[in-house]
Amino acid sequence: MVVYVSADGNYSAITTVDGSRFVVTLQLGQIEKRIARLLDENDNRFIRIGKSLIVNRDFIAFINPARQKMVLSDCRSFRHEVSASKEALRALKELLEKEV
């Protein structure tokens, strides 16, 4: 299962729950399109954050807009810290809080 996808120039790096990291020759926008195509109806777990990140909301453990950090974790076996803009993280936090 995908935890997050980060942009790496013209490539994208996909990180999965088992800690594997795959670099693919697709831009993040292309990955986004593929995800959209594969998703089931009502499946909205993936969120594009800015130009460089797609995250699986199921693994968002902590968001710190001031420090521009977000922790993605299953609270058991892995913990990834990713960065995004303060504004995007604030918007993300607001979105998730609204949905609680």
Binding site: G29, A36, L39, E41, F46, I47, R48, G50, E87, A91
Partner: protein
């Protein structure tokens, strides 16, 4: 061209919606596009130059029918509301709950309200209060206010017990740290207000203080372009509270009496609530910063 729908700025987020790819057969955007193109072609054939004129007269910012429903929702951050808003709007207190570093915080943001200082045990009973919290500390030995205190241009107390200060000059709040500050003189000259407290955050940096114990903490803070009161719902040391405020994004903050000292606030429905205990102080000189 449809790839523009996948454009995103670094300050935006977008929930990826299923089936929103332009290559998927059930995509909303594509389904609407075909008839639009067909109608446009017919229109061009029938009306010729007239349609051309209509197309030319379309304003550049107007969205085309094919762009009317985006494939996914893009959320841009909201511009922060300003404190300097029209006076005719009803004042209220916006309350935001958040968690930083596993510490729960309540942020009280006054809207359309003007701050003053007031002294007296009866102050919390005033029904016109939009937001109020205790301001300067009162000394346990003589019941006097600790540090310099100016009430409507009158010097009530002298001294510099703490380096942090808050001044209210012509309704404008300033928070800072200085052993000597011209804001004290200005408050005296302009019928303003001034009090001292422990500094917590200056220019986004933590200020270390001597008290080390843990308690429920409160602060007067500059956050997101507004002056507000922030209360911790967990017992924190001064240092942890200051760190939490910095992580929240606070630029400047001074301490306000903590523990069960009350924060009185009125929401936009006009409902009045209290966080803490209204009877937490018996001193005659108990004093409050109040927004009305």
């Amino acid at each position: 061209m449809d790839d523009k729908r996948y454009d995103i700025n670094d300050d935006e987020i977008r929930v990826i919606a299923p089936g929103s790819n332009d290559s998927t057969p059930h995509q909303k955007g594509k389904g609407r596009k075909a008839p639009v193109i067909l109608l446009s072609s017919l229109g061009l054939l029938i009306l010729g130059g007239l349609v051309w004129l209509i197309i030319i007269s379309n304003s550049p910012g107007e969205p085309s029918p094919t762009q009317s429903i985006p494939p996914s929702q893009t959320i841009t951050p909201k511009a922060s509301e300003s404190n300097s808003l029209p006076a005719e709007l009803d004042a209220f207190c916006k309350v935001v709950d958040t968690t930083i570093n596993n510490s729960a915080l309540k942020i009280f943001i006054p809207r359309f309200a003007t701050p003053v200082l007031e002294i007296g045990k009866g102050v919390p009973n005033d029904s016109s209060i939009v937001l109020a919290a205790m301001a300067a500390d009162v000394r346990g030995d003589n019941g006097e206010i600790a540090g310099a205190y100016v009430l409507k241009g009158n010097l009530i107390s002298k001294g510099q017990a703490k380096a942090g200060f808050c001044s209210i000059i012509n309704g404008e709040i300033s928070i800072g740290v200085a052993e000597a500050t011209p804001m004290l003189e200005q408050a005296l000259e302009t019928e303003g207000y001034f009090f001292r407290q422990y500094p917590l955050v200056v220019g986004g940096q933590i200020v270390e203080n001597k008290p080390k114990g843990k308690a429920l903490r409160k602060a007067l803070a500059e956050y997101d372009g507004a002056t507000c009161i922030i209360a911790s719902l967990d017992r924190l040391s001064f240092l942890d509270f200051a760190r939490t405020l910095v992580d929240l994004g606070v630029k400047n903050a001074i301490y306000l009496p903590g523990g069960d000292s009350p924060v009185i606030f009125m929401d936009n429905e006009g409902d009045r609530s209290v966080l803490g205990n209204l009877r937490s102080s018996d001193y005659e000189n108990v004093n409050y910063i109040i927004w009305r």
